[in-house]
Subunit: 250 residues, 2 copies
Amino acid sequence: MSDEDWRPPAVLLAVDLVILTLRSSRLHVLLVERGIEPHRGEQALPGGFLNNAGEDIAAAAERELREEADLDASHLHLEQLGTYGAPDRDPRGRVVSVAYLAIAPRLPRPLAGTDAAAAAWRPVEDVDTGRPKLAFDHERILADGLERARSKLEHSSLATAFCDETFTISELQQVYEAVWGVRLDQRNFYRKVQAVKGFILPAGTSRRTTGGRPARLFRAGPRTDLHPPLVRAEPPHEGPSTPDRRPARR
Amino acid sequence: MSDEDWRPPAVLLAVDLVILTLRSSRLHVLLVERGIEPHRGEQALPGGFLNNAGEDIAAAAERELREEADLDASHLHLEQLGTYGAPDRDPRGRVVSVAYLAIAPRLPRPLAGTDAAAAAWRPVEDVDTGRPKLAFDHERILADGLERARSKLEHSSLATAFCDETFTISELQQVYEAVWGVRLDQRNFYRKVQAVKGFILPAGTSRRTTGGRPARLFRAGPRTDLHPPLVRAEPPHEGPSTPDRRPARR
DNA sequence: CGAATAGTGTCTATAAGACATTATACT
DNA sequence: AGTATAATGTCTTATAGACACTATTCG
C-alpha cells in the first residue's frame, strides 16, 4: 500500500473444458492424453492457454473446443464453471485456469481434431473410481463440473443440451438417469416433464422407430428455469468439492 | 500450434467482491469510491490485484475483504462467483477479475478499513435501479452475485450466513424476504424450515426480547443442501394463463 | 390492560411416488 | 403371433399455499 511503483504480478491464463455427452446411455467425458510436459502422457481435460492478450476467455474456450474436440461451439451448451488458480497447480509457473462446462448431444462424429489424436470419450464412472488419474487438479475440476451438471438438471432445461434438436421423452429420461446415476419411473417422468410448461414442445407429428411403437418427438421449449423443478431424491449427495468456505462460528 | 517458441500471453489478475448483508431488513452491498484511475471517483465493488505471484486467489479475496471492508474472512461465507475477462473491460490492459460472493451477518462494526474511507453499504435496490452507476463491468458482476444468492437460498443453507451465530426464525425469514424481495407467510415459513432436517437446530433455551413474546433461538445445522428445497414462487408468466396445452390426443 | 412479537393448526390444492396395462409398430 | 418400445391412469402420501387465533413478554 506504500509502494508507488508497485506493479501487479502477471499470470498465465488457461482454459480447461469439461465436455460431457451421452454414449450408449452412459455419461462420458472427453479426455486427452497430454503430449507435452508437465504430466506428459497422462490423461487430462482438454484445454490450453489464451492465444494472445486480446482473446476473450469464452472465445478461447470455444477455440479449444474446436481444436481439441472438433466440436462447434455454436451447437453446444457452454458455461463457465469456475476458476482454479492454486499457486502450485502448474510447475511451469503461475497458471490460472478458467474451467468451462460443455454439454454435447450424442455425436456420431469421430474425434478428428489435429491436436487431439489422443482424445477419447471416457465413461465418467471410470474416472470417478480413479481409473485414469487426471493431471493437474483436473479431477477436482471434473468433479465440480459433474456436480454442476447434476444440479442444473434439477432447475434448468440443461438436459435438452444432451439431446439432438428433436428427441423423445425416453431419450430425455435417459439423460437424467445417466447424469444422476439413478433409475426413474417412466410414468412419473412423463407426467412431470410434460407438466413443466415451456420445457419441451411437441415437434410436429414426426416419429422415429426402433422396432417398437414409434415415439413422439419433442424439441426444447423456451423455458430455461423449470417450475416446478425435477428434484433428485434425498441425498446420496455430498456437497461439491468447491472451495466454498463456511463461516467459522465462534 | 506450429510455433515452437510461442509463449502464452500474460494477464493481470484481480479479485472483486460482492459483499452482501442485511441492514434494517434490506439487502445491502458494500461499495467503495475509487481513489485512482480508471473510473476515479466512481462507485465500484471492492477489489484489487493479486499481491504477488504466489498469492492464492481465495487468499487475495480474503485480504481484500480485510483491507477494504475490515471484515474477517473466517466469520464469513465466501465463495467464488465467476471470472470476468473481456479484453476491453479495463483500460490499463488485460485484466481478468475473479469475483467472489461474500455474505456477512449484520454488522454493528463501522467500516474502518484504511483503503476504504469511502466504503459504504448501499441498498441493493438503489443500485438495481441504476442510482449509483458502477465502474467497469461491476453491475454485471453484482447482478450475477445477487442471482447466485437468490438461487442458493432455495436449496442451500446460505441464508444462515446472513445471521449471527444464533438467530430467530423470524430473522431467518427476513433474510429470505429481503434477498428474494417478496413477503412470505410466517406460518408456512415456520413449518417449512423446521421440516428440513439439519437446517436449523434449537440453540439452548435462550431467548431474546424486543418488546413482545421472546423468540426461541436457533443455530445453523450441519445440512448445507436443503431437502426439500424452499422454492421461490413461480416467476410471473408471460401472457394470460393459457388453458392446458397438452399434445393433441387423437 | 394494551401493544408488540412469537408461535401454532387446519383445510385445500398440487405434486410426488408407487404401480400395470394398453397401444403401435416391427419381425 | 410374438416381441419390443411408447404411452397412459389411479391411488396414496407429502408438500405448498391460504388463512386466524392464542401465547408471552413489556411498558
